[in-house]
Amino acid sequence: MKPRLAIDALIAGGADLSRTKAFLKNNTFPIVEGTSVTFVWFGHADAVHLRHWIFGLEVSNELVRVPHSDLFYLTLEIPPLSRVEYKFEIHRGGQSAWIEDPLNRNRARDPFGANSVLQSDGYEEPSWTRHDPFARPGTLEPLVFDSKALGGRRHGQIYLPARFRRTRQYPLLVVHDGSDYLKYAGMKTVLDNLIHRLEIPDLIVAFTDSPDRLREYANDEAHARFVTEELVPELTARFPLIDRPQGRCLMGASFGGVASFSTAHRYPGFWGRLLVQSGSFAFTDIGKRNRRGPLFDRVVEFVNSYRAEPIAVSERMFVSCGVYESLIYENRSLVPILDATGMQVRFVESRDGHNWENWRDRLREGLSWLFPGPLMFVYE
């Protein structure tokens, strides 16, 4: 028999104010009891809704008020190892507002603000995402670049590994939405740690940004030319790079994933490694208009044409996607097509959504598969 949930025990014993306060003090929220997760709100409200980003569940779930109290709760079944970002929508006096869960200290930040985070049974923030005092830090240098292809000046940052030496040769990783990867996915810390653990080699990373990503990242010829014909030669002249496909990787998430893949498609064989996270690979089986709207039209056109004539664009391609995002359908559909071209493809699913910490948590397996570090070679 399933043990009684904490919220049920409270209600059964009478949720008076003192017992409610003890309940709030003695639990961490949301309450994770096996696969049962109880979200709790305490305060004055007419109604409270859970707003989450799990594709497949109702986007808005109303919390139940404990009779004669200001305590609201909702219990959902959430599989183990899940990470769910959410907010509460509070309705009061005809107004409503989305707020972070005041009882939960776990937060994830992104360009739009912050969300509360549910970590279900078994999920732990990977140790390699946290600062390690023993990992020697690499450096970040500003990157300023005048692009003829894009017709203007672009800014970014260059990561150099801690023991950078001009006498060595390094792989190059080019990251779309670079500032967001640094800020919201902690990518510098991740690089420092993975290099320290010998799980990836010392590598040079170009973090690039776009002022108009929805246009430039949607299979844009000028963007592909900028990255391949301008940025790489410039960086090759400035740094000791391994000047061959096996030493070059493009990566990105969402539209950045489309930018990575479509750029490699325009220059097949040039980019020997691709890391694509939650790529926005919208397509149609009939017609040209995808349900996602006109922003995706160029993506749909590209993905449809690729599905019609798939080719190997790279040697190795790591693809990841959260099962709680709608794009899981598109990514699952693409993987067998990629695989059939002869590319080495690794596809990883996670119980997470379309967010930066999901992409952060997949960096270790992705980067170490594309660029295995010296771990297999070092025996001390």
Binding site: R163, Q246, E365, S368, W369, M376, F377, V378, Y379, E380
Partner: protein, 369 residues
């Protein structure tokens, strides 16, 4: 004992009872024949045992250090030197190679090109290995009569052995062609370094080869023709050092971050300790309870014996009628001193797990494959 490791400095142990090496130590001997004695040790990072081994074999002369596996940190050997009494000299093989590359850029470019070819071969060999292992896994899961499964298991192992043999042959061919095309030993920049090393070695009674990056180590040992210079001397080698002086360097890790790995041959080693595959840091790299994987490894490399070298382990080779004698596994004595053993058996092989004192794990196969 890597440079700047967390290991504490350990004074030369006084309580270890010295014993005779197979022949008494002699200063300034020539270089003919095999090493006088070879001692393989487990990791020296946190609880070094090298000093005790040096004492036990009564090494009194100078010890040549090889720390090329530490790459740019090669010179950070103070802790290691102090641990074995301080009478040491570092052969500086890594920095000598850098000097050669600077002095002879044509050779450097050719060397890089050869390394690039080797990387390609390694990559394609690995792709074939992964598919062969996957095929073996799929076949194992199919329902079939036991006799068929036994035949198929043997076929799977034979396929792996064929891939291994072909890869080793390819590596050997690339090395031969490189040596022939570039007359490596006679290039002035290399010849000068080799002469210096030979002079240093004349005054050394022993060589201590540290771990680190095994590919770099094998490369530098080969570049400077170190193997013959160990003749008549006592050789101590641990972790990657022990791998580098075996017949074949096998890279292994059950749980690398990129997913379950396949053990793969890197290249031939120096062949000073024949008949074994050295597997150091077994505690961190091998799951002893995954008997399927261990069984495959044991059968794949047979008749060589897969020898795990956990921390504090020590195995000694002494010459017998002019050749090195392989270890007598599972017996007490010099090979695995004070070992108590437990045995994990499998239908096609025996895994002897030797614990306590000398400890080592040996996977071997009863079958001739």
């Amino acid at each position: 004992m890597p440079a700047k490791s967390g290991s504490h400095r350990v004074a030369r142990p006084a309580s270890v009872r010295p014993e005779r090496a197979s022949t008494p130590p002699r200063r300034g001997t020539g270089f003919g024949g095999p090493p006088r004695t070879v001692v393989l040790l487990g990791s020296q990072r946190f609880d070094p045992s090298l000093g005790a081994s040096v004492t036990k074999l009564r090494v009194e002369g100078r010890i040549a250090l090889i720390t090329a596996g530490w790459q740019e940190r090669e010179s950070e050997d103070e802790e290691l030197s102090a641990h074995i009494g301080g009478n040491t000299i570092n052969l500086r093989l890594h920095s000598r190679a850098e000097a050669v590359f600077r002095a002879d850029p044509t050779f450097h470019a050719a060397h890089r090109e050869r390394q690039e070819l080797l990387r390609h071969k390694q990559d394609f060999y690995r792709i074939r290995l992964e598919h062969a292992l996957e095929a073996a896994r799929v076949i194992r899961q199919r329902a079939a009569p036991e006799t068929i499964h036994e035949e198929e298991a043997a076929s799977s192992i034979a396929a792996l052995r064929e891939l291994d043999a072909r890869h080793l042959a390819d590596c050997a061919r690339l090395h031969r062609e490189f040596e022939a095309n570039w007359d490596v030993a006679n290039r002035s920049a290399i010849a000068e370094q080799r002469e210096e090393i030979t002079e240093i070695m004349k005054d050394c009674d022993a060589v201590a080869i540290a771990g680190g990056h095994v590919a770099t180590l094998v490369n530098r040992l080969s570049l400077f023709g170190i193997a013959p210079l160990m003749g008549g001397r006592i050789v101590f080698a641990w972790t990657a050092g022990a791998m580098a002086i075996s017949d074949r360097v096998v890279l292994f890790h059950d749980d690398p971050p990129q997913g379950q790995g396949a053990s793969e041959i890197l290249d031939a080693g120096l062949g000073l300790v024949p008949g074994i595959v050295v597997l150091p840091q077994q505690e961190e790299r091998i799951h002893l309870d995954r008997t399927d994987r261990i069984r495959i490894m044991a059968r794949r490399f047979a008749p060589a014996r897969c020898l795990a070298l956990p921390a504090r382990s020590r195995i000694t080779w002494a010459p017998k009628r002019g050749t090195l004698r392989p270890p007598s596994v599972g017996t007490e004595g010099e090979v695995l001193p004070r070992a108590s053993s437990g045995t994990l058996s499998s239908p096609d092989g025996v895994l002897e797990l030797l614990e306590d004192g000398g400890h080592g794990l040996v996977g071997t196969s009863k079958e001739e494959l």
